[in-house]
Symmetry: C2
Subunit: 138 residues, 2 copies
DNA sequence: ACCAAATGGTTATCTTGCTAACTATAACGA
DNA sequence: TCGTTATAGTTAGCAAGATAACCATTTGGT
């Protein structure tokens, strides 16, 4: 009924994708959004919460809460900026760093499996076109 | 950083799309999910809440709540099935039916505008590939 | 006829997303 | 210098998504 609707298709696909990632990230005790924030922090130590929000395309308060969650789990920590006291830089803890390899390898494995299940051409077409639409809208 | 990730791209695109539809549906006092449930009920009078959930790709409890919302607004109503008392069929009220034309025309207009903004080829490629991926995963 | 399984739906609870409004710090202009 | 503006971040409150567990009704086998 809404087969040609951009909103419907993107929302429904996002829910399916979240389920796939969720099954795997649950092994790390993380939800997909938490896992992606951790991966950003691991890849860019000292990043600001606003940078996390921008990179993931979420609102700043949402990033605040996800960073809170990961802090509570002891995976990351905030440190106040030395030159600018408004900034709170985020770093992975030892426990957080221990997840770097496993979570990134698990993520690559999900992508590989889905690519095989969906078919390489369709997978590429979907990712490329969604990226393009985001750029056109953003 | 996650440019080739299916989860990231579909989630981020879904948030952008929800914002676009939300701006327009707000004129009807509805959120996009509420609007889409109303459109399903208008198109298929007497449908069951489980059918709404299936059609929209959401969980049944989510459909229950959206139908509650629309009932509270006086746009739809439940009637217990006559032959099977477990079923609660959903119908649009007079007020709900009054929104049929306007909300469907507004929806077509959003699609038209986005199609122009994004470019017809990219728009089609995105919708078609997302639909294909959903079928492959579902 | 009756009890167990199946079916349709709801309730409870949690996470994530948003916007609006707020605090704290820094930068700037008269 | 001092008050205004700008920036980084958080808090509060709501909507929507999920799962797990629960009612209510029907079906069906013995």
């Amino acid at each position: 009924m809404f087969d040609h609707c951009l909103y419907f298709n993107s929302s429904a696909l996002a829910r399916l994708a979240e389920r796939e990632w969720g099954l795997v990230y649950a092994e790390f005790g993380l939800t997909p959004p938490q896992g992606f924030v951790l991966r950003v922090v691991l890849a860019t130590p000292g990043c600001l919460s606003s940078q996390v929000a921008d990179l993931l395309g979420i609102a700043r308060p949402t990033a605040t809460r996800l960073i809170d969650n990961l802090s509570d789990k002891g995976l990351i920590e905030r440190r106040q900026g030395e030159t600018d006291g408004r900034e709170w830089r985020v770093y992975a803890t030892r426990a957080g760093k221990a997840l770097d390899r496993p979570i990134n390898e698990a993520s690559a494995q999900i992508a590989k499996n889905l690519r095989a299940k969906i078919g390489p051409e369709l997978f590429e077409a979907a990712v490329t076109s969604m990226h393009g639409v985001r750029k056109a809208l953003g």
